[in-house]
Symmetry: C2
Subunit: 115 residues, 2 copies
DNA sequence: GACTTATATAACTGAATCGTTATATACTAA
DNA sequence: TTAGTATATAACGATTCAGTTATATAAGTC
């Protein structure tokens, strides 16, 4: 059961703006349970590396993901400590696990040493 | 207790894009329980009438609000029949009732024959 | 050190967004 | 029918956004 933390409307807007983009929404769904590195996102979304980096920066500056550096890689995962985490998980729970886009992305998930 | 209806990621994006604007998010919070006409929004948000109309059009085309014509007025209220309604109510429930912006708006609420 | 790999940042472009003012439409009332 | 009120739409400008390519940074390897 999710905790209901209430926030200001402008705080909620920060979270919504961050995930109102289809790429970033799916990214969040992917890191809800997993930890993924930039090169994995690039593979999965078939998008340029800078595009992915910029999406991740937006998610990070909204506080939705946290960054974990290991070696040359930077891993991203959902920031559970964020004030937005309860709202975000709530939103993500509305996405069906059978969503074709989501399944297609997970199909393309490669091991970390992909690149 | 809210029903959890799962939707496709792109459906969720439609809803999120519609309410990721601070004005529209607050509009939805206001029509969550009330039915309001355009002129009331104009008073409350201190924004031009066309700006309000355009926000309402976006909310309507996303299916989040329904329109009710009575006389010369058009009243807007939350569309409970929408597939987005459960997600939307979930999002709105994260906004604190003591939000200063929200309180300020409700303070400015005028009777329908305001204009 | 030099070279490679992973990621970030900068600079740019086209499209979308949000507001404005001006105008059109629709209903009401005299 | 004419005037007034409520709302919608059109056209425009400033800003933001999401992608691109080119370049910088940082870590790993030889």
């Amino acid at each position: 059961m999710e905790t209901l933390i209430r926030q200001s409307a402008s705080d909620v807007t920060v979270c919504l703006k961050a995930v109102s983009d289809p790429t970033r929404l799916l990214m969040m769904k992917l890191v809800e349970t997993n930890e993924l590195c930039v090169c994995q996102f690039v593979e999965m979304f078939d998008m340029s590396q800078p595009a992915i980096s910029q999406h991740l920066r937006k998610l990070k500056s909204a506080g939705l993901v946290k960054e974990n550096r290991r070696g040359q890689w930077r891993f991203y995962s959902m920031n559970q400590e964020s004030v937005h985490a309860p709202l975000l998980q709530n939103i993500l729970s509305h996405i069906e696990d059978t969503d074709p886009q989501l399944l297609a992305l997970r199909d393309k998930e490669m091991p970390v040493d992909c690149c």
